[in-house]
Symmetry: C2
Subunit: 343 residues, 2 copies
């Protein structure tokens, strides 16, 4: 079985965007408005259509099986509005994921968007995570280390006590978190390149440098997407910094707690990562349908068909199996219940 641990519902029907525009219109009148949750009228047929010709088609073409599926990351928009904006929007987005998983349980299993909001307590995120895991069988969540949308002036570093209620719940429920910022509202940062990759590197660094986080939460598991941002390319710099700052060695720091996904869109990048990062800490992912949707003229294949790069890598079949399946089943243990039920 080939599990893709990083897919977003980026192909939602128009009604989804309309709901968001309605929220923005309400906020324009009153930034502190307590929105009503209301409804998003998307039929099963619409949902089905938005998936069948997109993610499902590509899964089949590429030969991947099960995608850990979460709401569209760039649309989480935690910086928009107030905590009711984020709560209502997040609940709707997660509910759509749940409906898609119910429809295609052999293809998808859910991961939750969290209703983070600038200045807000993390407790609403804890509650939504619990709801999604217990009611919908979700197996993970996305954590936004910068709900400000690119100014890094809201949430504290990831080892701050601010985050601890979320980590406690994650450990209790046995679900990992994937680091993922949302759309940039900062004109200096481009969402799917400089902002995503910078945020991945930043989140990793915060965790690497913490002397408390994984002591306090030895069971906590965090996935850093997009191949860990700049980290594997600068593995020597990070190893050297660990040395200078008298931290553990880098492999020990990540060993049981930090994982990188394979959303790196060319063979050479994947090869570098496989060469440096312990196989145990690498999880297969494509992020499809995501940031880069075209065909690479150098290969004739989709840039984000990352399965080809793993297939093409000079590593053993055993290691490939770890990356495609084994590691993901360890990091996302709740996926076992889903697999047992539907396969």
């Amino acid at each position: 079985m080939i599990i893709d641990c990083h897919g977003h519902y980026t192909t939602g029907p128009k009604e989804l965007g309309d709901y968001r525009e309605q929220q923005k219109a309400e906020l324009k009148n009153d930034p502190l408005v307590a929105h009503l949750k209301g409804e998003i009228n998307i039929t099963d047929e619409q949902l089905r259509e938005s998936i069948v010709n997109n993610q499902l088609k590509l899964q089949e073409e590429r030969g991947t099986d099960l995608t850990i599926f979460s709401p569209r990351a760039s649309w989480m928009g935690h910086h928009i509005g107030n905590s009711t904006t984020s709560k209502n929007w997040t609940e709707h987005c997660n509910e759509l994921i749940h409906r898609i998983v119910e429809m295609f349980p052999k293809n998808f299993v859910g991961a939750a968007q969290l209703p983070q909001s600038p200045g807000a307590s993390i407790q609403t995120s804890v509650d939504e995570l619990e709801r999604c895991v217990k009611e919908y069988g979700f197996v993970g969540c996305n954590i936004n280390p910068d709900p400000s949308g690119g100014f890094w002036n809201d949430a504290p570093p990831l080892d701050d006590k601010y985050w601890y209620p979320l980590y406690e719940k994650m450990v209790e429920l046995n679900v990992p978190g994937m680091i993922h910022v949302s759309g940039s509202c900062n004109c200096t940062l481009h969402t799917t390149s400089s902002y995503y990759l910078g945020a991945d590197t930043t989140a990793f660094t915060q965790m690497m440098m913490s002397k408390t986080l994984f002591k306090d939460f030895p069971e906590l598991k965090i996935v850093v997407p997009h191949g860990g941002g700049a980290v594997p390319f600068h593995w020597g710099r990070f190893r050297g910094l660990c040395d200078m700052l008298e931290l553990d060695n880098l492999n020990s720091i990540i060993e049981n707690n930090i994982y990188f996904d394979t959303c790196v869109y060319h063979q050479e990048g994947i090869d570098l990562m496989l060469d440096l990062v312990p196989t145990e800490n690498i999880l297969f992912a494509s992020e499809m349908i995501g940031a880069v949707r075209g065909i690479d003229p150098l290969t004739g294949h989709f840039f984000d068909d990352t399965k080809r790069y793993i297939d093409g890598a000079k590593i053993s079949d055993e290691k490939k199996q770890m990356i495609f399946e084994g590691n993901i089943r360890k990091v996302y243990p709740r996926i076992e219940q889903h697999i047992a039920k539907h396969f």
Copy 2:
């Protein structure tokens, strides 16, 4: 000749830090204070000593010749104080570089810190660049894309007209600029890892996505340090984004305008870069004595002894010569006058 295009004066005597503390004390009393420039009493003997046992010793041990030397990047601190704070501090820092170059002209040639300051016009930077080039024979400058120190809320993207007076002067004087943020005052970002690497990626992305910058300034040359942050590792993502956003292809975009230095502190990272980035766009650099000062236990050599990685790379001697010398002499054409005079 082996030219290192990225070295900072990180080993200054105590008096340098004392001056900065004095500025901060004045700012504490009055954030708008118009500081007097005053003096920093550092003797030639102190300067000599701070260099001989550090950069000069390592140049000799490693077999590099001439370093393009600028003030300590993490101490530029553009976010501190007001425009007089930055102007006085910058002038002093550049004057120390000038004295060091006068003392050791076979080892160093200068690159200017610029007196950027939040909310301030770029004109003081234009003036300081001209002073350093015309009076001191400096051959380049460092451009801080985020004078806010980590909040990305001050300067606009690098293709904004805000920067144009600086680019006009750079082109007129025939000097390139190296992108370089300074110390982070944002607790979420660590200066020499997440902030530096994220800023490199961000600056690159701003330039890559601009449809005007290199049309308006076809002669402008920008060096992105630390191997270009995350860019070479994500070369496929950036190629794919160029395609999706209907930009030129990536190699064409960088061809005559954007260069990456080799401050990547392990063989695998350097190899990836050499494999993907056109040789013409790679400039030798070590950043010594900089962010990572230790010895790599895996090799027994300094992490930042980047000459070893180029020496060890499987590329032709001709390409090595381009990286070590030829490309740098093209990108920093004013270095010819310095070399003609002192070699």
